[in-house]
Amino acid sequence: MALSKIQAESMNLADTYAFTGTVSGASDVALISTQTTGSASAIDFTGLDNTYNMYMVTYQDLQFASADQTFIMRISDDNGSTVKTSGYLSVTDFSYYDGGSLASNNNASVNFHVIATDVGNASDNRSCFGQIYFRTPATARKHSFLGATSIYNDNGDVVIYNTATVYNTNQTFNAIRFLGSSNFAGTFKLYGYN
C-alpha cells in the first residue's frame, strides 16, 4: 500500500490492512494468554515469571454446574503440580441488593483467595465476572492479591465482592489455579502490565 495513505494527522483506513510484525510502544498492557472452557474442574496459568511488573487475570461468562457455588484461587511454586492449600490470609467484603433490600457481609479464609461465594448456575446472564491483580511472582515476598467480582445470584441479588489476600510466607510462585466447588465454564485472560 502506498505510503501516501499515511497523512500528517490521520491515517486513512478505508482499506483493510493486515498488521504484521511487532508493534512496540503502543501499550503497557499485553494479553499473555486466553483460556476458554465449557466444563473444567480447574484452570491453571503456569510459567509465570517477572517479565511484567504486574499481572491481571480477568474471568467472564462464568457458569457453574450447580447453584450456590464458590470460586477461589490458589498459587503453586511447581507450575501447578501441587497448589498451596494453606497459609493464606484472605478477607472478602460483599454487598448484595435485590431492588428492595441492601445487605452487606464478609468472610475470610486461610486456605485460598476467595473470589466469590453464592455463585449461581442459571444461564440467563447470572454469571460472575471479575479480575485479580498480583505483582512479580518470581520475587520472594508475602504476595498480595486484589480481586473484584460481580455476580447476579440465584436469589436475584446483584452482588459485589472485594477481596484482599496475602500469602503469609515469603514465597515465589509460578502458577495460579482457579477452581470452584463445582465444574465451571468461562473465559479467562491473563494480562501483563509494565
Partner: protein, 100 residues
Amino acid sequence: MDNTIQYKLVNGVQVELSQNEINEMQLFRDEWNNGAFDRKMTALRTKRNNLLAQTDYLALSDQTMSAEMTTYRQSLRDITNGLTTVEDVEAVVFPEKPEV
C-alpha cells in the same frame, strides 16, 4: 454441565487430573456443600437484620409504631424459627413492609 472431577485446563490444554488433585478438589467441594445450611441462614439473618434496621427509628420514644408495623417487625424476628434444611430457608418469604 458434567460435574465430574476429571479435567483441568492448563494454558489452554485439557489435562487429566491426578488422583491427589481429585481428592483435594473433592475435599474442597464436600466442605463447601456441608456448609450450605449455615451459609443460607447467615444470608437470611443479614437480610432480616437489614430490614429491621430500616424501621428501628419507629421504636424511638418520640415515634408511634402502628400495630401493623409491630406485627411486621415481629414476623422478621421470627423468620428463622423452625428452619432446619436448605429447602426451608430457600422457601422463606419476607413479610411485606406496611406503610409508615
